[in-house]
Subunit: 199 residues, 2 copies
Amino acid sequence: MTRTELTQRQQDVYTFIRDKILNRGYGPTVREIGEQFSIKSPNGVMCHLRALEKKGLITRCPNKSRAIELTEGLGGTGGLPYVGVIAAGATTLSFEQSDRIDFSEMFARDDMFVLRVAGDSMIEAQIADGDYVVLKQQKTAHVGQIVVARTPDDETTLKYWHPENGRIRLQPANSSMQPIYVPHAEVLGVLVGLVRNRF
Amino acid sequence: MTRTELTQRQQDVYTFIRDKILNRGYGPTVREIGEQFSIKSPNGVMCHLRALEKKGLITRCPNKSRAIELTEGLGGTGGLPYVGVIAAGATTLSFEQSDRIDFSEMFARDDMFVLRVAGDSMIEAQIADGDYVVLKQQKTAHVGQIVVARTPDDETTLKYWHPENGRIRLQPANSSMQPIYVPHAEVLGVLVGLVRNRF
DNA sequence: TGGCTGATGGTACAGGTGTTCGATCAGTTA
DNA sequence: TAACTGATCGAACACCTGTACCATCAGCCA
């Protein structure tokens, strides 16, 4: 959601403010923002805040400390009703008194990140073109795990992770495709989840 | 979430603080709390804040304004960093300054519900056993959409929706399975999303 | 009755904080 | 070249805010 109408600097400041509010629960002061970006004058920051407010991204309450509201909702209030398991066979759905399920809570760890999948190389693992995959950031993986790996020629790819004698086999889940063999590769993260929202 | 170890007054104060953080985006000052509860001395409020902190409900950062953190997570606040598209080929992942993606926002409509899939009848639509499917509650569907349908013998199933002359064909996405033909069926919802979190 | 806890009031102070005014400076546009 | 915009510095100011110290009072328990 990069905004062309924002300068890079404004984008940075906005992201910082949002990050503070989201992760710490309360926003930064003018001087905290300044410190973060090595802006030594409070007025330097004020200038950006005025710009962000004029462009409608934040709302401020004059003369109050830390009183920055994000115009964009924080989102994620409640989750969705979880009504049961659906099998090939009989099922009773109970909309009444159902539990709720919250996907952002499901992937709530902050060492995770999201990639969008392009291509069908993992189709037989039920990972389709356009899916969002959720990955846990780590540098090692077990044999057979699905990982995001960076190869020596600086390509990044989503594949099964198979270290072999003196090389790495990056195995697609697509029987019409061949495995990739590389002398070594860097694991960027391992697959922990998947989200799809187009049907 | 009434806590027996809290006095009524403390409970009230805590609720007020949480309400401010959740609905306004930033917490109250000591004096704002005092005004709300007609406590005329800042110290009266301090006393409650100390109590709440001692009991572990909030965390404070000394000498900072509005610096009240709720110990209990806000629930579904933030989303995850969205770092790019991963293709079979080259990709540059940018962890710096990345956008964020929030799945609970993605499925934020309140006419949606979630089911867990049992069985492999939709495997060729990349819907696997154990996946969560997100459905939009509606009574009609277009031809070829994936729906949750209830058949006359009161079974509920996830299938492709194919109305035909005088009957409904409920088509699995599994070439080893046969379609189900029923004289009529009730659409409970159409598929709009999918979430998987086991790998 | 004495001691304890929870809840407040009052006052005072130091440092945090938002804001303003004036000025510089690089890069872009007319 | 002149005008402008974005970004920033520096200093100053008034108010906001957290905090500390001291005191009161009702209710409960021993």
